[in-house]
């Protein structure tokens, strides 16, 4: 009998990484490279009036906007970020010039000697101020049912507000890119999630056709969305530098530069007006979502869309109006980050449900479950949920594993327990998958098989998992299946490595190709099979009205958090997280657990210790000494379990998994803190200072 696909195997990339033999960008020796340093704005909003460049030694260059062969913007959803500033800068850290030369210290020295004169312009730093001034990038509204009438019939109307803060990715390998010319082709190497995003950005910046550009992903030391759109900017920098200087160039950020200048998670503000009937059922919601996009719009419209479409979380409401807006502030741009806008709006919704239940004297679980989606219900975009929803089973398992019901009755002062329900829409939002139409190639040469995809290994285990799907289908030992290097000259565009889509969408295509290959295996020595993604026909989406199935399917989760709070300092210790998930079926249980545990800890960081704010546009936490992420002494015990609920259109029944675990901890921890102290939590991160303040206000 064939082994279950879920049975864990050893990761194929572990050994090389353990001994540091697998080269990351910084480990690759280029032939006499020039080092590049970025000269950045120290102003939040200003006009550049003059640039003073010292006399350059021979072999050193200063590169500015006039050297850009093509268009001076980084191509992405909204291509508004200049590659090098024109005459205005919009945030501290914005790239203005590049210095290149053979001696790194000298390059760094020169970059410090460059003086830039600015005329300061009025700057806006907060969401509230930006809203007041109407600095809106994007303004979307969706509605379902008849909210106006429903409000008129409501028994009770409540209003509330929730907010979340900045978060930095802290992938352990800082961002970096290298470039060189070989014959008439530009080769760009670096740490990235989306080789074809980078290629597209380069074609515009260099004004060169794609077949003269090769983008090659190097081993990527963590990404979490931070290497989704941002690498395109550095890629443009190194590619332009290599064009100007004629030398290979390399640009690797140091940690402080990475923190200062790369994208962050969108800070959010979510306002509610909701109506309840006489049975204390929520009948109507008006949700107003505000995300701080920072200085440029970039990828933010899509982040906002996911935030909007996830804003009713696991609940079924008949009458809804959701407005979502992205605002400009003169701060570092926000961008993709694990969860992609959903964790913010789901945190708000979970806490709203929790706080309403508490204020009505109801047990939050009962109040939440009364409103839960069931198979056949419609989402906030009116899309029918076709698949079986096993949330009640997930909940029961989580309650049992955590002994929630007993603990909530008996908890001591300054300890608390809380629960969250959450989901994640699998794959691209809206018609993303239909537009991208991911393509894969599977090649057979004798007994060996080669996978050609653009979906990258960035730590999440994609190489092992994709190889496993193919090997398992073909009943081959895994070493007979390899992945091609992610080199845009050698691979088809299976889409970017984002949106938790790699296993479900790309893995699904590979499984189909492998099945076909199997039927022809014995008769054909060499074989190439390609597959293009086709969206299931029963799914509908209208991108103008935001109606239909925003996602093909959903993964689901329940978290229970237990906290202890120091009665004097109010320091929060997260003692335990119990997590139960429905991700369809695990392709590899241990790899999946790795995603879940890592996501939980990252979500816990966002909820508690990861404090980052900008003071008039200047980040206060600019080093890893100031910006703390969880260490081995901070983490809770984690109990993690899965209930299978195979998805018809995923490989072996798999759905999405990578982002889902990030969302659960924040609302569960907030509910636990609120349980411990008897105060409602409406803001992330939850810090001892804020708790003390709230306690003092109460007394």
């Amino acid at each position: 009998m064939k082994m279950s696909i879920s049975k864990s195997i050893n990761r194929t990339d572990a050994k090389g990484k353990i001994w540091g033999e697998t080269p990351y960008l910084g480990d690759i020796a280029f032939d006499n490279p020039l080092y590049v340093k970025t000269v950045r704005s120290n102003q939040s909003h200003a006009r550049i009036s003059a640039i003073h460049i010292p006399t350059l030694p021979e072999g050193y260059w200063v590169i500015d906007k006039s050297h850009i062969p093509g268009k001076n913007y980084m191509k992405t959803v909204v291509s508004d970020h200049p590659i090098l500033a024109e005459d205005e800068v919009l945030y501290i850290g914005q790239p203005i010039l590049l210095v290149a030369g053979p001696d790194r210290e000298k390059v760094y020295g020169l970059s410090k000697e460059i003086r830039i004169d600015y005329e300061p312009l009025p700057a806006v730093y907060t969401l509230e101020e930006s809203e007041k001034q109407g600095m809106v990038f994007t303004d979307y509204t969706l509605s379902k049912g008849n909210p106006v009438e429903a409000f008129s019939q409501a028994e009770k109307i409540l209003q509330d507000e929730y907010s979340t803060g900045l978060q930095e990715h802290v992938y352990l390998e800082p961002q970096g890119m290298a470039a060189e010319f070989k014959e008439d082709t530009v080769f760009v190497y670096g740490s990235m999630q989306c080789p074809f995003y980078v290629e597209e950005a380069l074609t515009e910046a260099l004004n060169m056709p794609a077949d003269k550009i090769r983008v090659i992903q190097t081993t990527t030391g963590g990404a979490f969305g931070g290497k989704e759109e941002f690498p395109s900017l550095i890629a443009c920098h190194v590619a332009i530098a290599t064009c100007v200087t004629g030398h290979p160039v390399i640009l690797i950020y140091d940690r402080d530069e990475d923190i200062l200048s790369t994208t962050k998670r969108h800070p959010s503000l979510v306002r509610y007006k909701v109506g309840l009937d006489k049975n204390n059922t929520l009948t109507v919601l008006d949700i107003d979502i505000l995300y701080n996009a920072g200085a440029y719009a970039g990828i933010s419209p899509v982040v906002l869309q996911r935030g909007i479409f996830s804003s009713t979380n696991v609940y079924n409401f008949q009458h809804i109006r959701v407005r979502g807006r992205n605002f400009r502030t003169h701060t570092v741009p926000s961008g993709a980050f694990r969860g992609f806008g959903a964790p913010q709006s789901i945190f708000a919704m979970e806490m709203l449900m929790h706080n309403i239940a508490i204020s009505l004297g109801l047990e939050p679980i009962d109040f939440k479950m009364k409103h839960c989606l069931k198979q056949g219900d419609t989402s906030c975009t009116g899309g029918k949920i076709h698949d079986k929803i096993i949330l009640p089973e997930l909940l029961e398992r989580a309650l049992t594993l955590s002994e929630y019901r007993k603990k909530i009755q008996t908890h001591k002062p300054f300890t608390g327990i809380g629960l969250s329900l959450f989901l994640h829409g699998c794959g691209f939002t809206g018609n993303g998958e239909q537009t991208i139409r991911g393509k894969i190639i599977l090649q057979k040469k004798g007994k060996d098989v080669l996978i050609k995809v653009s979906s990258v290994e960035m730590g999440q285990g994609a190489d092992t998992i994709l190889r496993k799907i193919v090997a398992h289908t073909l009943e081959l030992p895994i070493h007979h299946v390899q992945c091609e290097v992610r080199d845009t000259g050698l691979i088809p565009d299976s889409g970017p490595t984002v949106a938790s889509r790699t296993v479900m969408i790309v893995g699904g295509l590979l499984q189909k190709a492998a099945e076909e290959m199997k039927s022809r295996w014995d008769t054909e020595e060499n074989l190439e099979i390609s597959k293009v993604y086709h969206h299931p026909d029963f799914l509908v989406w209208d991108n103008d009205t935001f109606t239909g199935n925003a996602y093909p399917t959903y993964s689901w989760g329940v978290n229970v958090a237990e906290v202890a709070i120091d009665p004097i300092s109010y320091a929060i210790q997260v003692k335990k997280i119990t997590a139960v998930y429905d991700v369809g079926r695990a392709i590899d249980e241990r790899t999946l657990r790795g995603q879940m545990e890592g996501g939980i800890v990252q979500g816990m960081g966002w909820a508690t210790i990861e404090v980052m704010h900008a003071d008039e546009g200047t980040l206060v936490q600019r080093t890893l000494t100031d910006y703390k992420i969880p260490t081995s002494t901070d983490i809770p015990d984690i109990v993690c379990d899965f209930i299978e609920n195979p998805y018809e259109f995923g490989p072996f029944g798999a759905k999405c998994a990578g982002e889902l675990p990030f969302t659960g901890p924040a609302p569960a921890i907030a509910a636990a803190v609120s349980n411990a102290l008897g105060i409602p939590i409406k803001e992330l991160p939850i810090t001892p200072e804020k708790l003390l303040e709230m306690k003092n206000d109460e007394d």
């Binding site: 572990a14 353990i18 001994w19 697998t22 030391g221 963590g222 790899t591 990252q602 081995s632 984690i638």
Partner: protein, 156 residues
Amino acid sequence: MKIECTLNGQRKTLDVSSTRRLLDILREDFHLTAVKEGCGEGECGACMVLMDGKAVNACLIPAGNLMGKEIVTPEGFKESPRGKIIEEALIEAGAVQCGFCTPGFVMAIESLLNEHPHPTEENIREGLSGNLCRCTGYQMIFKSVRLAEEKGAGLW
């Protein structure tokens, strides 16, 4: 200045400025790239090496402090029996994701087990607290320490 030290079991005479970071000496002069730079400020542990048997951050050690010291990098530890056990344990526990932190953790685990062949949970948490991992959530790394303790009984 000239500095005598031992690097991965070999005696070396370094001719470097006394302020040059050990991290740069290892990566640039000796191409020992298992020693990673994650922060350059002593916060992440990706650059960890053993100095006289204790785990230290190579980014914080100036060449001037190396006189007479014995330095071991992951490259020099790889073929040792304890290295093999830690490798096996990390793989079996699923403790490697993006891998950028991993060589540093190898050094930290070696140093931890050296000091506490049978570590308590507290010992493990403390012993690994100088190494950041953003991918795994640490739990599987804890497990790898337990596995190494078991598999390598008597080695530490």
